[in-house]
């Protein structure tokens, strides 16, 4: 019960901040709301007993990626006022209508679906204790091959960044 309350509170905060991210006019504010959002997602990971993921979430997303965002925002300096549409009213109503439709759809699904919990995955007996150790163990044993392919993916991204950014190769 307590867990459910914690989950729904966190979820409400996450959604609230996500709305604020796209609702504020100031880009810097929006990035800062994004940080808060990421922090609450990290709290959600803690709730799921995945402290390692939570720490990574804070370090990589709330730390690294948001700093990059801020750099871009400050370099580009978006001072342009938001474009005025011919008929903003109508668009707003259309947006509200569509959102309400999707919300109703999701609510229907939530109501309709049985409240039964998802079947728990086969709890693999791992030879190591501790969350971080377990993640590391899985990455380097069972998921070694996808992990290595991911390293190729990063190499591709790196080379792509160089190819696209450098003036002459």
């Amino acid at each position: 019960m307590g867990e459910a309350i914690a989950f729904y509170t966190l979820a409400a905060f996450i959604l609230g901040f996500a709305v604020l991210v796209i609702a504020t006019k100031d880009t810097v504010h929006s990035v800062l709301f994004l940080v808060l959002d990421f922090l609450f997602v990290a709290a959600l990971y803690v709730l799921l007993e995945a402290p390692f993921l939570a720490v990574i979430q804070v370090l990589v997303y709330a730390g690294g990626i948001v700093v990059l965002y801020l750099f871009v925002v400050m370099l580009v300096n978006l001072k342009r006022p938001p474009e005025a549409h011919q008929d903003p009213r109508r668009r707003t109503w259309l947006g509200f209508g569509l959102s309400a439709a999707i919300l109703a759809e999701l609510a229907a699904i939530a109501l309709y679906s049985s409240a039964g919990a998802a079947p728990a995955g086969p709890a693999a007996a791992l030879p190591v204790a501790g969350n971080t150790e377990q993640v590391g163990w899985l990455l380097y044993t069972r998921y070694l091959i996808p992990f290595e392919i991911a390293s190729m993916l990063l190499l591709v991204a790196m080379i792509g960044a160089i190819v696209l950014a450098k003036r002459e190769l």
Binding site: P122, I145, P146, M152, G160, L164, L169
Partner: protein, 509 residues
């Protein structure tokens, strides 16, 4: 050996290892080749430098072809294996093998097509070929993946390579625009796909598709699973260019370097279909009623919109983009049928489509001169008088894409429509035939321009040996597979049968 993996696992992923090693080797060779790179790539006006850039491009394309050849050879020991390796993450079976052969053949033809194109554009060949090989690696992983984790990593590797390749011609605004469009929409669609996959994982408690099929079997219909199916269909629909997720295709196809457009429309599409078959036939056979209906609607809309939109195009690359959307619609019929015959028809069609599409693009590359892009329809005006051979090749590719006997395109369509009728979707096949009739209008229009218009305003097509090989091979395949398709049919049927846990595909019917 780390726990959970056996030494034999590394033996079974030998083709992937070979292509990865080859790609890395290519990068090293690119650095070691004794040419002043900066000056050479810029073209710099001086003939000596251009000449050296040419040599360099040729050497690197030979290395790339060597890597692809070695990968094909390394597939040989697995001609009849049917195992799950790496703890059920990757399957090595005939189904994966068939797709891998398609990808590697398409990659080799793309490399041959690229040589001259890169020389004209003055683009740096090392990174280009590296990315082509990495895209191929991603596709191979997608075709073999039977776990959501592997499939997604493969998909990302392929997609990121293509985002960069689409924007490889940096001075060209069209190319830049194509890359940005593809990247933004691609990232968005991946997000949707991932959301669907995470729901699938959440509901079944496993990422393994085969375990998932067991977990979902016999369960009452769960609306959350339906939502997951819809999201996954939307994500994959983007990758195969199905309407209404096709908006990116014309712009990207038009703007990307022509050989990349060819590879994108063949390789990426085939890999996404492989992924689609794996996810839906292996992982979600329990909800087949839901996704069959979705794909049925998608197939009809995709065929019709693709063909109707292609009617008015004046740019050949754009027209082929819409035509490739329509072809995705035809191929989806095989998924709707869901029978082994439907799946084998899809495999056959994807292979045949690869050859005719690559051939058509090879002719377009031929038209590329230093100052002319050569992809407007009017560039082909009176081509039969200027270069009868190129015009004839284009004629055959167009007829094949339209599905006229005795070309391979006819056999492919025949088999697909036959599979649909066999599975009881007669009217779907009727719509397919009607659509083929519509498509003939715009395919034949190219022929009219080439043979009946007399004013020759287009550029002279430039022939080169590698391009000649591409046109020759694709032409031969288009004719031979149309006249004598039996070998291909047998191979495809054997491959389709290995999909799924001992005949999931059959259990569907």
């Amino acid at each position: 050996m780390p726990a959970g993996l056996a030494i034999s696992d590394f033996y079974y992923i030998l083709p992937e290892l070979v292509i990865t090693g080859g790609a890395l080797l290519l990068l090293v060779a690119d650095v070691l080749l004794p040419v002043a790179r900066a000056a050479a790539a810029a073209g710099a006006g001086a003939d000596g430098l251009t000449e050296r850039h040419r040599r360099r491009t040729q050497i690197l394309s030979w290395i790339t072809l060597g890597v692809i050849g070695a990968t094909v050879l390394s597939l040989a020991p697995f001609a009849d294996t049917h195992v799950e390796v790496a703890g059920g993450l990757i399957a090595v079976d005939r189904f994966a093998l068939f797709f891998k052969v398609v990808f590697l053949a398409a990659a080799a033809l793309t490399v041959l097509m690229s040589t001259r194109y890169l020389e004209i554009e003055g683009a740096s060949p090392g990174e280009y070929y590296f990315l082509v090989l990495c895209a191929t690696l991603g596709m191979m992983v997608m075709a073999g993946g039977i776990d959501l984790v592997t499939i997604f990593i493969g998909l990302e590797t392929m997609a990121v390579s293509f985002y960069i390749l689409a924007g490889f011609i940096k001075p060209s605004q069209r190319s830049n625009e194509a890359a940005v469009t593809y990247f933004l929409l691609g990232a968005f669609s991946l997000g949707i796909l991932l959301y669907g996959m995470s729901l699938m994982y959440g509901l079944s408690g496993t990422t393994s598709l085969r375990t998932m099929a067991v977990a979902f079997a016999g369960q009452p219909r769960d609306p959350r699973l339906v939502l997951a199916v819809i999201l996954v269909v939307a994500g994959i629909g983007f990758k195969i260019g199905a309407v209404p997720f096709h908006m990116w295709a014309p712009d990207v196809y038009e703007g990307a370097p022509t050989p990349i457009t060819a590879y994108l429309s063949v390789g990426s599409k085939a890999a996404s279909f492989a992924m689609l078959l794996r996810i839906f036939l292996e992982g979600l056979p329990a909800t087949s009623a839901d996704w069959r209906l979705l794909f049925e609607v998608l197939s009809i809309v995709t065929m019709t919109v693709g063909n109707v939109a292609a009617l008015t195009q004046t740019n050949l690359k754009r027209m082929l983009a819409y035509s490739s959307i329509a072809h995705a619609g035809y191929v989806l019929m095989g998924v709707v049928a869901g029978t082994p015959r439907g799946v084998s028809a899809m495999l056959i069609y994807l292979l045949i489509y690869a050859f005719m599409q690559l051939g058509a693009f090879a002719v377009i590359v031929m038209m590329r001169r230093r100052d002319v892009v050569g992809d407007e329809l009017k560039d082909y005006s009176g081509l039969s008088a200027r270069n009868p051979l190129a015009a004839f090749a284009m004629l055959l590719f167009m007829l094949s894409l339209g599905g006229i006997p005795p070309t391979a395109g006819f056999m492919g369509k025949f088999w697909l429509f036959g599979a649909a009728i066999d599975a009881g979707y007669v009217w779907l096949a009727v719509i397919g035939v009607l659509n083929s009739a519509i498509s003939l209008y715009y395919y034949v229009r190219v022929v009219v321009f080439m043979y009946l218009k007399t004013e020759a305003i287009g550029s002279e097509p430039a022939f080169s040996a590698p391009l000649g090989v591409v046109v020759g091979v694709t032409l031969a395949a288009t004719i031979v597979l149309g006249v004598y398709p039996r070998l291909l049919f047998e191979a495809a049927e054997a491959s389709a049968r290995t999909l799924g846990v001992a005949g999931t595909a059959i259990a569907l019917k």
